[in-house]
Symmetry: C2
Subunit: 276 residues, 2 copies
């Protein structure tokens, strides 16, 4: 099996939505020039990560940003995991949503962040997404020419249940756009990707915005890939950049054979199930 090549776009996000869309397009193009088959953008790639922006920047599914991503995927011939953007539904509810497109530009997946990010660390970070956003209710696994993949968004990675459910549905690569901050990033970002990858014996990729010194919310950056043994195979720093990684999917089966974790789960003793 040929290794899969993926590109993680750690892009600068600014206030002007149009500039963000232009930058995403240029960077996906650059990644495609390096032969990647799957490209992923960061969380809130078209909108500053701040509650005061989400509603104003939100678009319905099929809106301008959605169309732009679809076109980029088609023109560059890549599976495009569109980071996330604020989505508004017919009832006026706003979600933190990831759309995924195949290389013909067709939507093949959509994930609405299921666990909203609320934090209030003494002397550290304060943020409360649930003031503005509504949580999604679906586990997201999508079919690609490279097998099934899962999508989660940022705070979602803190919940092993969601990752296990994606893996139960066949995901072998899980892509998580996310914007950890300078409190939680150094403390937890790498740890969580490594353990989700290890526990589930999958590849786990995290894609963050570049750190923006002018923004109210300082992204930790550090886009990375963890392999099914829990090793980090590549990572960026705080700055803008593209992380290109070769993913040898045969490692999923190799490690599952050597260290049988998923087959050792005690489904007779406990069950993890989706309620609806």
């Amino acid at each position: 099996m040929e290794p899969l090549k993926i590109g993680l776009v750690q892009m600068h996000v600014e206030e002007a939505k149009e500039n963000n869309l232009d930058r995403a397009e240029r960077m996906v193009e650059k990644a495609a020039e390096q032969g990647v088959q799957v490209v992923a953008l960061p969380e809130m790639f078209n909108c500053p990560y701040d509650n005061s922006y989400f509603r104003h920047y939100s678009e319905e599914e099929g809106g301008a940003s959605y169309q732009r991503l679809s076109r980029i995927a088609r023109e560059q011939g890549v599976v495009l995991v569109g980071g996330s953007m604020p989505e508004i539904d017919g009832d006026g509810k706003v979600y933190n949503t990831c759309y995924i497109f195949d290389k013909e530009g067709r939507k093949i997946g959509k994930h609405r962040k299921m666990h909203l990010f609320d934090i209030n660390v003494k002397g550290g970070q304060y943020f409360k997404e649930s003031d503005v956003l509504t949580a999604g209710n679906s586990v997201t696994v999508f079919e690609t020419p490279y097998g099934k993949m899962g999508a989660a968004i940022c705070f979602d990675i803190r919940f092993p249940e969601l990752f296990r459910l994606m893996v139960q549905q066949g995901a072998r690569v899980i892509i998580t756009p996310g914007a950890f901050n300078m409190t939680t990033g150094p403390a937890h970002w790498e740890l969580l990707f490594r353990t989700r990858a290890l526990d589930n014996q999958v590849f786990a990729a995290g894609i963050a915005p570049a750190q923006n010194s002018q923004a109210s919310y300082k992204s930790y950056g550090n886009s990375l890939v963890a392999d099914p043994w829990g090793n980090i195979t590549g990572r960026l720093g705080y700055e803008e950049g593209i992380l290109v990684q070769e993913i040898d999917l045969s490692k999923v089966e190799k490690y599952r054979g050597e260290l049988p974790l998923l087959s050792s789960l005690r489904h007779d003793v406990y069950s993890l199930r989706i309620n609806k």
Copy 2:
């Protein structure tokens, strides 16, 4: 609230069972002299960790090793998490079992390893517990004067489901005797304790046998404690020793307040349940 003081006994385990019991007693005594209220022994503290020994060393519940632990707990006035030992039941099945005693020497908990350790890493470790041992079927949480605690054994720590279930039952400290090896230890031991502690916002302690250069199975040692923020607060190396740690249980509530993980679980979307 006074900090809880716990002692992790990373003891040398040799072939002579009686010597192991004597050493355990001496080391628990030393720990008690340092004012600890809870002491934990390593996995298979009275028996070399090797399939060829387990049946021969096994005892029924209430046997000599059990009685010895009960007496040590009572005489030293500590809650004693008795690492683990091979247990044989009336049907001749052998388990990897942890007994827990209060400071009056009464049994307050019993955990039979629920996930048996099978591994076959190319150029690394081979071991197959399931050739000889039978797995337990119960989630183990016990009441102490310092609140509820959970117990797991070694490979059990690879399964986030079990840890979540203990926490759902109220555990705020989880004690895991375990003997990782020189393949899985450096790769995964610390990572797993940190993430289980962080995901569940509890204290997680791991207690390993000291490394024995003469044994067929080389223990990684590295007994440690991880706090609810996912930090390692103390650890040993490969050698015999006692790790004494102060555990500030108010940190459990502090972190759960600052970073609400458990209350953000989407019980409406997914459920983790015990089947029986």
